[in-house]
């Protein structure tokens, strides 16, 4: 018996079956992984890497370190109490001369201008003058050229530049910045715009999520309780907008809500209002258009959960003496909560990143964090700021995405 069992456990080539099976399993796993590999590489190189670099840009800025190497080196020993000594000024003069010769003053000026607005042009002009200096002492000469080189905050900034990493952009994103002695202070009111912007983003997102929930829940209930032949028909009315181009829907809202648009003309014609109401290019238009776009995202998960709730539960509650509202609230509603959580979380996550819709139907005071990221990238060319705001938005999104995954499961995301 024992010899037979040993014989069965070995294949014809004398290899134990267990080893053979393990080898086949491994090969099968390897083949499965090979199938995934092209997309994995594509996503890693074309998506994860660029986003990682952007996140890195939020804290990494070596402009001053590379363009003013001597000054930043000379400042590493500076205690920051008084103005630095002659050696640092000599290094500065040397760096300015070199930057002028290499036409790099623009980048330095831009970097200094970020933190000390208005000094950019002075940096450029003093670099031009400094390029004519031939011999020391440089300290009085440079301060003579431009008093900015006698300012504590400028030198503190240069000293901070000796590190390639900076918290400046992230601090600015939450309305803080560096003071004259590199201490962290609250931004002055004219710069303190970001906290408001984040609150606005949150406010609009919460408002839109609540609106989609209020509007979506009754419709989901109707669709889930109607007989299939009616609900399928009504479902088309929910799914068609979901499938229609976002641009088309935004165009539709502009056409409907603008000053001489369909709605205003109709209300005027019916003598409900005496002059056109401002319905678009403000907060109203933004919230209406965003609610319209997000409604199916909230509604469909609630609907799919409601479909699974047995109607006998409510009937049982009723027959046990519960009133209609009590039965609905205590028996039906709690069972819809997973759908409500999934739908509203999905809508909230998507709302945070809105950019196009507020840009098209919102006014200047309705722009969300996405618009600021775009503005800093395309118009101000301040990529550090764009990256810092992007990093904050991305972190928020990923945390919520993780919660969504834990709550709903990524497998459950379905289309249509």
């Amino acid at each position: 018996m024992v010899t037979m069992a040993v014989q069965i456990a070995r294949g014809p080539d004398g290899m134990p079956l267990r080893t053979k099976l393990a080898r086949v399993e491994r090969r099968r796993k390897l083949r499965a992984f090979t199938l995934v590999l092209p997309l994995l590489l594509f996503i890693l190189i074309g998506f994860v890497l660029p986003i990682g670099r952007m996140m890195f840009n939020a804290v990494h800025d070596d402009t001053l370190l590379t363009l003013m190497p001597r000054t930043t080196a000379a400042l590493s020993a500076w205690d920051g109490a008084d103005l630095p000594d002659e050696s640092a000024y000599a290094a500065l003069a040397e760096d300015l001369k070199q930057a002028w010769a290499q036409r790099a003053t623009g980048a330095i000026a831009k970097r200094i201008n970020y933190e000390l607005p208005g000094l950019g042009s002075q940096v450029t002009s003093s670099a031009r003058k400094a390029s004519t200096l031939s011999a020391g002492p440089y300290k009085p000469a440079l301060i003579e050229i431009n008093p900015l080189w006698g300012r504590q905050d400028v030198w503190s900034l240069l000293k901070r530049g000796s590190s390639a990493y900076t918290a400046y952009y992230l601090l600015r994103s939450v309305d803080y910045q560096y003071g004259p002695n590199s201490e962290i202070v609250a931004s002055p009111p004219e710069n303190a715009i970001f906290w408001d912007m984040f609150l606005r983003t949150l406010g609009i997102s919460i408002g839109v999520t609540a609106a989609t929930l209020l509007l979506g829940f009754p419709v989901a209930y109707l669709l889930a309780t109607l007989p299939a032949k009616y609900s399928n028909l009504l479902m088309i009315m929910v799914v068609l907008p979901f499938w229609t181009s976002l641009l088309v829907r935004t165009v539709a809202w502009v056409v409907l809500l603008q000053q001489h648009g369909v709605l205003n003309e109709m209300l005027l014609g019916l003598h409900i209002i005496s002059q056109p109401a401002q319905l678009i290019f403000n907060r109203i238009g933004t919230v209406i258009a965003m609610t319209h776009i997000q409604l199916p995202f909230t509604l469909l998960p609630i609907y799919s959960v409601m479909k699974t709730i047995s109607r006998t539960h409510v009937r049982a509650a009723r027959s046990l003496g519960a009133g209609p509202f009590y039965a609905f609230w205590k028996v039906y509603f709690p069972q819809t909560l997973p759908g409500i959580a999934a739908g509203s979380l999905l809508t909230f996550i998507l709302c945070l990143g809105y950019y196009i819709t507020p840009a098209m139907v919102g006014g200047p005071n309705d722009q969300m964090v996405g618009s600021f990221i775009a503005h800093y990238t395309n118009e101000e060319l301040n990529w550090g700021m764009a990256s810092a705001l992007g990093a904050i938005l991305l972190t928020a999104t990923l945390v919520l995405y993780y919660v969504f995954n834990k709550l709903v499961g990524v497998d459950r995301i379905k289309m249509g």
Binding site: V36, P38, P218, V219, L240, W243, L247, A252
Partner: protein, 276 residues
């Protein structure tokens, strides 16, 4: 289903209120899309009813105007390339992921479909910096690759959904009968997952065809797509040609919706799933 005869007046009131709210919400959903279609036949460039006359002048401008023609051509060219690329990549990945006990399946799937969860503006900015360095900025290739990134998750999701409940003993049976892997794939696996692949391909096409943020960031005017042209059209003076463009896109979405729904039914029938 009328209100139950046994219902109290209060319940009846709630019943009709509920119906009223639902009608209003459904109108809110569908009305903007329907209102725009008749306006595209308006003979005058205004956006109000009643319309003084009907004309096809906006369609003429859409199909014959140089600006829109280039945009339409670009959109179709980019979307078709994106569809081919993302369907291939996405289907392969979904096939791999659906193998039983694939290691770290959930984590990998989350990573692969993360491009649709990350706000597009972040993707756009990140790719803008990246493409500027590697020289893909303002090229067709760059735009196609960028759109493929956000289109592929749709293919992965739909094909994965088709593969749930996929009977792997079918492929084993085919292999046991002597079919080489390629034959197994084309004769057994492919016919079963084809509906999912086609839906995924349509989603991919649609997401590229409708995409505007990436097109704004990483493409130039030379690669302008239809949504990008519409976007700049709205920001400036709104031109009625946009309503013609919108109508065509709506018809396009209706066609897509119908196709996907038919495919879904076919796929469920093939796999023996009955919808109760």
């Amino acid at each position: 289903m009328p209100a139950s005869t046994y219902a109290s007046p209060m319940e009846k009131g709630w019943y009709y209120l509920h119906r009223l709210i639902c009608t209003a919400v459904l109108l809110f959903l569908i009305a903007p899309i329907l209102v725009i279609i008749p306006l595209s036949f308006n003979s005058v460039p205004f956006f109000s009813y009643p319309m003084p006359g009907l004309s096809l002048r906006w369609y003429q401008e859409f199909f014959l105007g140089n600006q829109w023609q280039v945009a339409l051509y670009n959109s179709i060219f980019v979307a078709v390339s994106v569809t081919l690329l993302s369907t291939t990549l996405g289907t392969l990945a979904a096939l791999g992921l659906s193998r039983p006990n694939f290691p770290w399946r959930a984590a990998l799937l989350s990573l692969l479909i993360s491009p649709i969860m990350v706000p597009v503006v972040i993707t756009a900015v990140a790719m803008y910096f990246f493409y500027a360095d590697v020289g893909l900025l303002n090229t067709y290739l760059g735009l196609i690759l960028a759109h493929t990134t956000i289109a592929t998750p749709f293919v992965v999701i739909t094909v994965t959904a088709t593969l749930t409940g996929f009977d792997h003993s079918l492929t084993r049976a085919a292999a046991g009968l002597g079919a080489p892997p390629v034959t197994v794939f084309f004769n057994v696996t492919l016919p079963l997952i084809l509906p999912g692949m086609i839906s995924g391909a349509l989603f991919a096409f649609g997401s590229s065809f409708d995409e505007v943020v990436l097109a704004l960031f990483i493409a130039s005017v030379d690669q302008r797509t239809l949504p990008r042209t519409m976007f700049s059209g709205i920001r400036e003076e709104i031109n009625p040609t946009i309503t013609a463009a919108a109508t065509i896109l709506i018809l396009f979405s209706i066609a897509m919706l119908t196709t996907v729904e038919l495919l879904r039914r076919r796929s469920e029938r093939l796999r023996g799933i009955r919808n109760s």
